[in-house]
């Protein structure tokens, strides 16, 4: 008799013991686990596939730049005001939330650390992450719109900024916590003060993580609809690049409105807007991944 030849490498790691019944149960469980992943793929493929198919029929340069037709019934482009609105509103929200969020994160990790105040702020930013986006919309409506009596891009941007802020704070806090304290000590030993140390030593080494977190926050904000419903006015006759002057519109709110339209022409525009929005969101998501992949690796190497 020759020694048994091990043909299945896995049998070394997880030997296949037990009766046939137990092995069968194991096989069924493994199959179900793999099936769960396939099940998650189904909606992803269906939705993205359908949006790409329907959206690409109408998506074009003129779709992205032309104003909306004056009647829902008229087929064809465009979504220009909504594209401009989404870029303007999301961009201004990012300009407000990202610097403040990074500063807040710096406070949590570099100044507050484990002090009671920092614990409270950390806890509250977690609570704030869980605030539903529609409630954020109601907040800006009651607090800003009712006081200024104006719906504009700025109010929408404020609502989105409130949604992004806690995300940026928490990512920054977590990323800064990963910076080894030797780096800080080295900087202090060279005579740098705390602000200088944070600016030129700590932040640069945590930058990839922070940037990627901020990009993901932007991606999430760009797709939000609920916070804009009562804040930007939703009037779409012309492209409005002004933050404060006049009402505005956005891709997400256009999709919401046109989805319910009885006219196929409006529904077509909704698909086109959906494809545009998904492209914007995916670009930011992929950028975030690339930042982590490139700079994150260089850092650890």
């Amino acid at each position: 008799m020759t020694a048994p030849v091990v043909t299945d490498r896995r049998s070394l790691v997880a030997p296949r013991p037990g009766s046939r019944g137990r092995r069968a149960r194991n096989a069924v469980a493994t199959a179900l686990i793999a099936f769960a992943f396939l099940l998650a793929l189904v909606p992803l493929v269906f939705i993205v596939g359908y949006v790409v198919q329907r959206g690409s029929e109408i998506l074009s340069w003129s779709f992205l730049t032309q104003p909306l037709p004056f009647s829902e019934r008229i087929p064809g482009p465009g979504m220009g005001p909504a594209v401009a609105g989404t870029l303007l509103i999301t961009g201004s929200a990012a300009l407000m939330a990202i610097p403040l969020g990074i500063l807040g994160g710096i406070y949590l990790n570099e100044y507050g650390a484990k002090s009671p105040l920092a614990r409270v702020v950390r806890f509250l930013s977690e609570v704030m992450t869980g605030v539903p986006s529609i409630v954020m919309g109601l907040f800006i409506y009651t607090f800003v719109v009712l006081n200024t009596h104006e719906k504009n891009a700025f109010a929408g941007a404020l609502a989105l900024a409130c949604l992004m802020l806690p995300i940026v704070i928490r990512t920054t806090d977590q990323m800064l916590a990963l910076v080894p304290s030797e780096l800080r000590e080295g900087s202090y030993a060279l005579g740098s003060r705390r602000a200088r140390t944070i600016r030129s030593v700590v932040l640069p080494s945590a930058a990839p993580g922070i940037v990627s977190g901020a990009l993901l926050a932007v991606a999430r904000a760009a797709g939000e609809t609920a916070p804009l419903l009562f804040t930007i006015g939703l009037v779409e006759d012309h492209t409005n690049w002004s933050l404060f002057n006049g009402t505005n519109t956005a891709l997400s709110t256009q999709i919401f409105a046109n989805a319910r339209s009885l006219f196929p022409s409006a529904q077509d525009r909704a698909w086109g807007a959906a494809l545009t929005l998904i492209l914007i969101v995916f670009v930011f998501t992929i950028l975030a991944r690339l930042v982590t992949a490139f700079f994150g690796r260089r850092q650890t190497a």
């Binding site: 997880a14 013991p17 137990r22 149960r25 194991n26 469980a29 686990i33 769960a36 992943f37 998650a40 992803l44 269906f46 939705i47 403040l100 807040g104 406070y107 570099e110 100044y111 507050g112 920092a118 702020v121 704030m128 869980g130 605030v131 539903p132 529609i134 409630v135 109601l138 907040f139 009651t142 409130c162 802020l165 806690p166 916590a177 990963l178 304290s181 000590e185 202090y188 705390r194 602000a195 200088r196 140390t197 944070i198 600016r199 991606a219 760009a222 797709g223 939000e224 609809t225 609920a226 419903l229 009562f230 997400s252 999709i255 919401f256 989805a259 959906a274 929005l277 998904i278 998501t285």
Partner: protein, 332 residues
């Protein structure tokens, strides 16, 4: 191996005492200003949260004042001045529950697939793919479910309904399917897809913290992989999975736009899962535009109620995590 945070930074050199004005070493003022700015940004979170609560409660007050405990009554009828939100509270929890029943088994399955079954080099692509589900905006889910999913799925509802027509409990649950397909169930399915990536990513991290020694002990006793998962991974991860489920539930009840498109906008308590309903978030999105006075106060008030629910759910999840971390010493 869990990455543990390095110790907090040691304190920087103390400020040189006794110097003022021009004698101050360079950087002291910048240092102080920067510190104050950081503190102010941190405190901003507190201020905004306080303002959220104050401003919404303030504008919802006429509703609380008029209805009292009647805010939870099942009598939504703005035309006759009745603003009970009972049906919406019911719908919110029902949709959240349906979403969990569908999403939790799938999420746990995907998490197990990533941590236990998939070959190592497939893990990252699988994680990225599932995360893509989270990148699709809510309104796109809504558009797809409203225009593409609803019609065909109403046929499925009718089939299920006719098959279960004589079975005691199911006959009520599955009765009267809506012709349009817009229903609690459709909303629940869409929300389930949307919360799957969240529950998956948390459970995945929790499963990954199962100590190798526990796994090896199970294999050493002759367990199959499934028996190892049941005997070692699940008991170790119970707390983490529970909190993941709660976080998913918190997200589910706050989901607005997709639900607003597919729930069918019917403000009544109904046991028919295939019939139309309404949630707190969806009614705000659907009716806010046409509201004034107490009507609008009621809609804002439902936002307050929703906020309260999500905060309670979120805090309980946090409590579960804290207890679990104390017990196992694991970081989830």
């Amino acid at each position: 191996m869990a990455v543990s945070a390095p110790p907090r930074p040691s304190t920087p050199p103390a400020r040189t005492p006794g110097l003022s004005g021009a004698d101050r070493p360079p950087g002291v003022v910048t240092d102080r200003i920067f510190g104050w700015l950081a503190l102010a940004s941190g405190l901003l979170v507190m201020v905004i949260l306080a303002l959220i609560v104050y401003s919404t409660v303030d504008h919802a007050w006429p509703w609380f004042e008029k209805e009292g405990l009647g805010i939870f009554a099942d009598n939504w009828d703005p035309a006759h001045g009745d603003f009970g939100a009972g049906a919406m509270v019911y719908g919110t929890f029902l949709v959240g529950l349906i979403a969990l029943v569908i999403s939790v088994p799938v999420s746990v399955g995907i998490a197990l697939f990533v941590t236990e079954v998939a070959p190592r080099r497939l893990r990252r692509p699988v994680v990225y793919t599932v995360d893509l589900l989270a990148a699709i905006p809510s309104v796109v889910y809504g558009l797809w479910a409203f225009l593409v999913l609803a019609q065909p799925i109403s046929g499925v509802y009718e089939d299920i309904s006719s098959v279960t027509g004589d079975i005691p409990v199911l006959e009520t649950l599955f009765a009267d399917p809506s012709k349009t397909g817009l229903s609690y169930m459709t909303a629940g399915i869409v929300v389930a897809i949307m919360i799957t990536p969240i529950i998956t990513s948390i459970t995945r991290e929790v499963f990954a913290t199962t100590p190798v020694s526990l796994r090896e002990a199970a294999y050493g006793l002759g367990a199959t992989r499934w028996e190892m998962i049941r005997g070692s991974v699940f008991p170790h991860s119970r707390g983490g999975v529970v909190s993941a489920v709660m976080i998913g539930f918190g997200r589910a009840i706050g989901e607005t736009i997709a639900v607003a498109l597919v729930i069918g906008s019917s403000q009544q308590i109904s046991a028919h899962l295939f019939g139309p309903g309404e949630t707190l978030a969806s009614i705000i999105a659907n009716q806010f535009g046409e509201s004034t006075g107490v009507y609008q106060a009621a809609l804002i008030g439902m936002g307050v109620v929703l906020l309260a629910f999500t905060v309670v759910v979120g805090m309980s999840a946090r409590f579960v995590i804290a207890r679990y971390e104390r017990r196992t010493g694991a970081t989830a």
